[in-house]
Symmetry: C2
Subunit: 341 residues, 2 copies
DNA sequence: ATCAAAACTTTACGCGCGGAAATTTATTGT
DNA sequence: ACAATAAATTTCCGCGCGTAAAGTTTTGAT
């Protein structure tokens, strides 16, 4: 009863009294064999705990079960959470997710794409770095592999899933204008299209409401948003350059830095009595509920974006057709009212 | 000049005018071929951008270049950062890191181990879940694969690399006692040995300094430390159950929650005038510098732990010997003084 | 120029499995 | 009970590469 030399599928087949091709069929799709043989295989499986050699399997299958996930920055809790959700969906669907982080670096994204390609993946879910991305390399990749982009719309892949920045920014601008001074806009570094879209959305919303947009410009390509929010924030607050007492940050990580800056400058943040400044964010990052004060923000629908991305990818994989038109699906954000604004 | 049907190594070999076995040798170790042939290969490589089929390569090599990295919770910035450092070291050494997150769940850790095993990895770097880990499965894995454990010392693998909790906790306890009221200890959920070690280290340090240890107990197996710090913190602060005005948290994420609780209760945190409570953490998480106020803590030496883990693993892989004794390497923490305590 | 060592080429086999084709066996419905 | 169909079996080839063995060429030092 001890596990013997059952290493190959051949071994396992003879040990379980079934022919190897049938066993092979079973591993490709347990439903594809007769119920009785399936049962016999599974009995033997429990006895010998054999698993097919992954490399041999994937070498011969024209299509593997691998799905690549590439995110720009895994230390960002937004992407950590997205990765977690996507991984789970893939596993549940019988696929094998492989996670890569570009760590904010162009070359690492390129490397991830190359490595991924050599894995002959069934598909890929990519949140591009953005401006730092090598679009040519990415497009070439997407030509060969069914690819869904998410978060950052770089016009690559067969579909895009993300948030409707115009809706979400509009929502919070409207809220801020309605409940106090109209906000100025603390931008994020223009690392990706979201940065520009959110700025444009802010301007549009302000003009729609008859207000004058005021933007605090930020340059660079750094992904250390908190640091930037803190340093830039301290500078601005010290110089009293703030055009209004309300700041809408391009994302929560910037806001977290700005909250720290305000705290360190002795400014009370919030909408209540005796508060000097209101600060709002965007994304509803996992940590936003633990800031001081808790951050008012607009949530991105993490679960919906993850689900939809995965569904679209599975659709592409199933049909195998490269649709001529690139689908774009945008989800609405929801106002998350806490006490910072 | 356009890339032709150079798909296999055979194609590439003929295209570059070199025999396939030599090309194969080159890909296994570019140094192993003559400088002149290496140059010829690399010229052809630039021209045809061929990459060996990963599956075919790994099927035939007795030992792959894969290195598995398993962390318990990727949304924790500590592990995100460790993963980043380790990945880089592996890539630089010509290995191929594959990252898994257990997402705090026992079954996912088991799955990761199984998947990893089927990849015939050269080695593995594992930060175990801790109490939720299936130690039998893990030991069986480590019997077959050179394995280095880090962060959480579960007595698995051929070596362990981590922080010296007794030193680091001792350091901050001494600091807190020296500069104000002796601290009570807000534990983390006992998910892993670090939790118990840090509690024990706190008790030992307090007794060494002639103080009475006071512990705020926490149960459960949740990894949502901030949430726990916030909720438990609010309860304790509301009930005025705090034995002293100084709280040492078992880790920074708990401290972040407690800081939020104190803020929401209107308590001023810090060591200055008019501060009601001092709060300190442990780990120097990437976000600790952005809390309000910035968090006083003890840093873990991320880079040293990552480097040492990887070095030890490479040593194991190189020698191929299962050392009889399990090495343990602990790094010291450093006091990071900010304004929260 | 000479020669041994080093590097390369040719040839050949095997890894573990997917999958096709032809044949045999088992399962349905009437 | 019988065909008609579904499922398994047997046999075989190929995937792309590692790697061993034997023979050939190149290299570098004398």
């Amino acid at each position: 009863m001890v596990e013997r030399k059952v290493q190959t599928m051949e071994d396992f087949a003879t040990a379980s009294g079934i022919s190897r091709p049938t066993v092979s069929k079973y591993f490709n799709d347990p439903e594809s064999v007769r119920q009785s043989t399936r049962a016999r295989i599974e009995v033997a499986l429990a006895k010998f705990n054999y698993t097919p050699n992954l490399f041999a399997v994937n070498q011969n299958r024209k299509q593997t079960k691998n799905i690549g996930i590439i995110v720009p920055y895994l230390a960002d809790p937004f992407f950590a959470e997205m990765a977690r959700l996507i991984e789970r969906r893939c596993i549940d669907a019988g696929f094998w997710p492989i996670l890569f982080s570009s760590h904010g670096q162009r070359q690492m994204e390129i490397n991830a794409l190359e490595t991924l390609r050599s894995l002959k993946p069934a598909g890929a879910l990519i949140a591009p770095l953005g401006r730092a991305s090598d679009l040519d390399v990415m497009r070439k990749f997407a030509d060969d592999v069914p690819t869904v982009a998410f978060d950052s719309n770089q016009d690559i892949g067969d579909a895009f899933v993300g948030s409707d920045n115009f809706q979400s920014i509009g929502l919070i601008v409207e809220y801020l204008c309605r409940t106090g001074e109209p906000p100025c806009f603390f931008e994020m570094p223009p690392v990706n299209p979201n940065a520009n879209k959110r700025r444009a959305a802010y301007i549009a919303a302000m003009e729609r409401l008859g207000q004058t947009p005021e933007i605090i410009h930020v340059g660079g390509q750094s992904w250390e948003f908190e640091k930037m929010g803190l340093e830039e924030g301290k500078r601005i607050l010290a110089e009293r350059k703030l055009p209004t007492n309300t700041v809408l940050c391009s994302n929560d990580r910037i806001a977290i830095g700005l909250l720290a800056a305000a705290y360190q400058m002795g400014l009370r943040v919030g909408h209540g009595e005796g508060c000097a400044i209101r600060i709002a964010g965007h994304d509803d990052h996992p940590w936003s509920q633990f800031t001081c004060p808790p951050l008012t923000t607009v949530s991105q629908n993490y679960a919906a974006i993850a689900d939809c991305s995965v569904e679209k990818l599975f659709g592409l994989i199933a049909t195998g057709t490269k649709s001529e038109s690139r689908e774009v699906k945008l989800f609405h954000g929801q106002l998350v009212l806490r006490s910072s604004a």
